[in-house]
């Protein structure tokens, strides 16, 4: 390779070289240049007003395949390009569109001549651009926080204060067993502060504040999920079962010890072979009228109680769900209080306890298995609010139907589902706060040798995080309202609340997992460190999709409840007439929208809450009526309702999700509309629009199939989602600041990694 020693040609040559520097640089970008290629470039270049012979001379020298420039030559050329005054090279953003910039022109010339070069090369070529300062947020995060926390603010503040005590510093280098002890100590401290008793009647030391108890619980999710779950198992599931399934005698005897955590308890429902199908659990409880005792027994290995929180180490008593048998007659599932450990922590006679061992997450919770070998408990240990056995061995119940009794008993799980939903959405908040702060500050790549850009300025990053931020805000509104309604005993239809709790639990836990996964990946390698917290929280929250009702099962409950509601609503009307009616209604709802709504693509329409609401309602109604029709067709062909539901399982699940999204949107819309502060309202309205529109986009195939969107509209929605993301980028940091998460929960001081 002959070296070009002299990089300073004569003046005319110099001007020409400056002119052609970008072209030459690009031409050599691929490392080699054949004779043919060089000739092609020389033919194609515009002479730019320079003397032809000078141009020919310079190009011959610089585009000579037999004497390629050295690396230093090319560096010098690059320096020359960079030194060329700004008005001759691009590209300050403001200058865009004022004629074809020269460097790009050069690139095009070479590209057209050779079909090579391109994007990567060019980024080394151009002058350094400027990115403006990050725009300030459009609102005050503290005011936003106050608005969204609403009535929760005082209890949240109270819990945060407690969580700042040294005992809650969970350090990273510890074994599973030390971690479990520390988690127990944390729960004890919370009990000492009265947080465990909030939901219980004041006569036993509680505060009789159901909403407050859930708000306190969800706040624990900012700190450590093992503490949250252990707290929930004892106070919520175990304590809740005693309170709700038991009667005065049980309350008198147990509630004080539950509230103080002097009597740590378990909730023993799930068995190894029966998780979702509680009705078919196999633990038996046979009444012995001679001794007036129940005999609790595990007939085989598959019937052992499994995954039971508090069972491996700390639980002393358990609410055990078992098939009640009285005088040879089976009465279905009932709940019994069964001591499992004595005061020294030794298993009670006939009780065998095992540790489930290491789990994917929640390492600080001692999940275990319980086997019963004909364990006897007194008759009073039946939690007898809904059914009892007399001393003489007569089974009595205020609810004659076994099925109805069963579902009434399961109704006590509602508080747990609401709590898990709320905690899921807190987990999503923590993940988003960490990831959005990372993405807004970490810079990677840049445009044209300008400063590197924050990750959050990339569309793919905005897409991964901002719709989920919007969904988190939206879900919070729905959950908040549900908690208040549930807490208000007069809050209305129990079945509706049960269905909502099931739907929101499934939706929120799915949302949390997807959000944490996206947040983990948004943080790149840093997200893989336990110190980052996101990965650990994801591992903990993972089981939220499974426990307190597996999500797929819960969504089918929601669908069944909607189908039942449909039947009730129409009273005596025969099913097929009803289906025709609903279908007609849905079709006409669509027809009303047609053709204007299906075609409108202007931003005003696309952001309109009425459009979103109508679309979400249309989808729900349509899915409901078509599901009813499909079920009817199957039943007419001789299928049983259960078979029919199984065959339409995917349809049911879609219906349930559509229902939940419609409800979430309604609640969020109410919260936005109720906001009196214009600066908050503006950004909340953007979040609402982004939530709704992105959900419509995600399911646009369905809307296209249903004829509710035309293709142009679906495309316009996608592009409007991008626009909304761009508009929210500048507010993203403030929106996660408004979650009000104490810094130590997001900055890596609190890491419960097990080493």
């Amino acid at each position: 390779m002959a070296k070009q020693k002299n990089n300073t040609p004569a003046t005319a040559d110099d001007a020409v070289l400056t002119q052609f520097a970008p072209l030459i640089y690009v031409a050599w970008a691929d490392g080699t240049l054949t004779k043919d290629e060089a000739a092609r470039i020389r033919r194609h270049v515009s002479k730019g007003g320079h003397a032809e012979d000078v141009v020919a001379r310079v190009l011959k020298r610089w585009l000579n395949p037999e004497a390629p420039p050295t690396p230093s030559d090319l560096n010098a050329l690059l320096e020359r390009i960079r030194r060329t005054p700004r008005d001759r090279t691009p590209v300050a953003p403001a200058d865009r569109g004022q004629g074809q910039p020269r460097v790009i022109e050069a690139l095009h010339e070479v590209e057209n001549a050779l079909g090579v070069g391109g994007v990567d090369t060019l980024s080394m070529l151009l002058g350094r651009g400027q990115t403006g300062p990050r725009p300030a947020a459009s609102f005050d995060p503290d005011r936003m926080r106050a608005y969204i926390e609403g009535a929760r603010a005082p209890i949240r503040e109270r819990v945060f204060k407690i969580l700042h005590r040294p005992i809650f510093n969970i350090h990273r280098v510890q074994t599973t067993s030390l971690y479990r002890e520390q988690v127990l100590a944390c729960v004890r401290e919370l009990a000492r502060e009265g947080l465990g008793g909030i939901a219980f009647p004041s006569e036993y030391g509680g505060a009789a504040d159901i909403a407050g108890s859930i708000f306190a619980f969800e706040t624990l999710a900012f700190h450590d999920m093992s503490v949250l779950v252990k707290f929930g198992v004892h106070f919520g599931l175990f304590g809740g079962s005693v309170y709700q399934l038991g009667t005065r005698g049980h309350h008198e005897k147990y509630l004080r010890g539950i509230i103080t955590l002097d009597l740590p308890g378990c909730f023993a429902m799930t068995e190894s072979a029966h998780g979702s199908n509680v009705r078919d659990i196999e633990t038996t409880a046979v009444y012995d009228p001679t001794s007036r005792e129940f005999v609790i027994h595990t007939p085989h290995e598959g019937a052992r109680k499994d995954y039971i929180g508090n069972a491996a180490l700390h639980g002393r008593i358990a609410t055990v769900f078992a098939q009640l048998e009285v005088g040879g007659e089976s009465h279905g599932v009932h709940a019994f209080l069964v001591p499992i450990r004595d005061e020294d922590g030794q298993p009670m006679p006939g009780v065998r306890l095992e540790d489930c061992g290491e789990k994917v997450g929640l390492h600080g919770v001692d999940n275990g298995r319980i086997h019963f070998d004909n364990v006897r408990v007194p008759r009073e240990n039946l939690l007898n609010r809904f059914a009892d056995v007399t001393e003489a061995g007569e089974y009595v119940s205020s609810i004659p139907s076994a099925s109805r009794r069963f579902f009434t008993m399961l109704g006590t799980l509602v508080a747990g589902r609401i709590s898990v939903a709320a905690a899921s959405n807190i987990a999503a908040r923590t993940g988003l706060a960490i990831a959005i702060r990372h993405a807004a500050t970490r810079r990677q790549f840049g445009i044209d040798d300008g400063p590197e850009l924050p990750l959050l300025s990339y569309i793919s990053m905005q897409r991964a995080l901002l719709p989920r931020l919007a969904a988190t805000y939206a879900l919070d509104a729905a959950l908040y309202d549900l908690i208040l309604r549930y807490a208000d005993a007069a809050g209305g239809d129990v079945r509706e609340i049960e269905s909502l709790a099931a739907g929101l639990k499934a939706y929120a836990s799915r949302h949390a997992m997807d959000t944490l996964q996206a947040a983990r990946e948004a943080c790149g390698g840093a997200g893989y460190m336990m110190q980052n917290r996101i990965g650990g929280i994801r591992e903990d929250v993972d089981v939220f999709t499974t426990f307190e009702g597996a999500n797929a099962v819960l969504l089918q409950l929601v669908a069944k409840s909607l189908i039942t509601g449909l039947r009730e609503q129409f009273g005596e009307m025969r099913v097929w007439r009803l289906v025709r009616y609903v279908t007609a209604r849905a079709t006409s709802a669509m027809a009303e929208k047609n053709p204007i709504a299906t075609r409108r693509t202007d931003p005003e329409h696309l952001r309109d809450a009425d459009f979103h609401d109508a679309a979400l309602r249309f989808r729900e109604n349509h899915l409901l009526s078509t599901l009813a029709r499909r079920l009817k067709a199957r039943i007419d062909r001789g299928a049983t309702p259960v078979e029919a539901m199984n065959e339409c399982q995917d349809h049911s699940i879609s219906l349930a999700q559509a229902h939940v999204e419609r409800i979430i949107h309604e609640h969020f819309r109410k919260r936005v509309d109720a906001c009196a502060d214009e600066s908050l309202k503006r950004v909340l309205e953007r979040l609402r629009a982004l939530f709704a529109l992105e959900r419509l986009e995600a399911d646009r195939a369905w809307f296209l199939e249903a004829g509710y969107f035309e293709p142009a509209k679906a495309k316009a929605i996608r592009s409007e989602v991008n626009t909304l993301c761009g508009e929210l980028e500048g507010d993203a940091l403030a929106l996660v600041d408004a979650f009000g998460i104490p810094p130590r929960f997001t900055e890596g001081q609190l890491v419960a990694a097990v080493q």
Copy 2:
């Protein structure tokens, strides 16, 4: 509540009671019955040929709101319903459609009267059905295994044999530091067996078998991901960099020690502040001509090497990527061999080493950070295959363009990407094997008090697992071919292989994560136990989406390469003409299909490989031409290519994914077509159709928007996917058996949980 003592009425009453038992049971299902409701039911029931007065008497007695039946009464009624002979109650599957079954009729009557009751109640009512025995698989899994393993079979067998040695029994109760030592011991054992050297020239102790080395590597993924990654870091990344970036001198000096693992090494590219954007890393390597040394330096905290495998404990030397400066001139990123620990494991002078601490997964890999404080290495430590510095301090390179040099150097990452893609797909296999075995054997719920059904018979479970099983089979075909092509030095276009490696790595790692998450959830609570393995594998594999190139960045590389290919293909043609040409071609391709293809919904067409291929091609071409058009429009408006690419980032990523799916399908189709065994071919063809169709379904919104599907077709595709899932259910177990995973890797003996 007055008790009905006598449950044995006179004969006529008895017959009527049997007739109305279901109706009565359903009527009380909700627990209460008002006078009005009772009257309504009595009005509505069909008399069924019985004497009117008897019917009235029985119903009056049993539907008396003032004397509701006791639980025992209702139990007796249920027994009566169950005892009723089969031909009078439904429903053996074969009997379906032969008239309205009585119980369902009863339900409908009550429903229509009251608008209550339903599915849950009914499942307690009906006679016990039978489910047939699970059909045997349609093919022999061993023959399937032999067919899909192909040339890999011997190396896989060899590696499995080694992995069965006691040293590879990784037990669950151990600390991170013990686990790391055991992982090192495993890698040493693999080195002793010569597995680390397979890819290297035989003169240094290797086997010069590149394909074999990747096949051996992927097999390790069945065992333990920490062993896999530590093995890959040392032999693949570090060894590969010395071999591919170095020259004879480096090979002579280092390769033997690398192959024997006597010289454990690191690959130090990523910095805290620069992951994806390697070009802008900030570690410097300044040539000092007086001492003929390079001075390696970390200018600030953000420039420390981060997440470096082997750096925390075991690495003694590192390939360090740094900005080379010679005589004040910068020459971009180059690689240097820098000793980091002496033989006693103490850090070398000027080198500061830190442990990254606990990670989300890969607990057995010692990732660390490296800081250099003006560390001097001899001139020979520059890995100088593509560029060198003479003693006198002159920079020389056979590749004049810095950009080209950079990408040539990065080209050495290709093997790593292919290996990660292959290992990802093994992880998916393990997850599927565990989850499908669980879902095929665990039973939950049942139809009408029949035996509980295996989870895999539910549509939602089939949907979660079977398309992913198909995708795993499909991906394997593409990866297998890519490995053979990459290994064959004459295998063609380097850039095409680089692009494929990037695309398949992104696709396979995403697929693995999604599959493992679905598999984890399919196993319910059991899936949350570390013993189940899925959760732990997911934690390990999680980082596969990030390392060896973040997925979003890799997919953009693929898109850029397609755009570049488009330009090359059309040589001198100007961009806009070319875009018009491609668009016209795509449109006419669609027009050819119209209207027949867009409307056909028959299964023959929907399963046709030609249809799938055409649809996948259409999507890719269309996305490519529209991307080209959008880029051009932006560049015409004055944007730089980088800006334009950023603005179209989501479009680029869609294009890359479409490209990868088209390629995967092509390779899988070839594998199916080449199969000579009809029984294998039949099930492989089903898998192929399921893979293709489910991918089209997943993106049906796009096809609807593009006018390539009509709504009816999109719906038909969805339903055909369900049908294919149902057809594959019976073969699912055999299909995971055909993965040939040794039982100890799926049955919980091997659990690397850290306690």
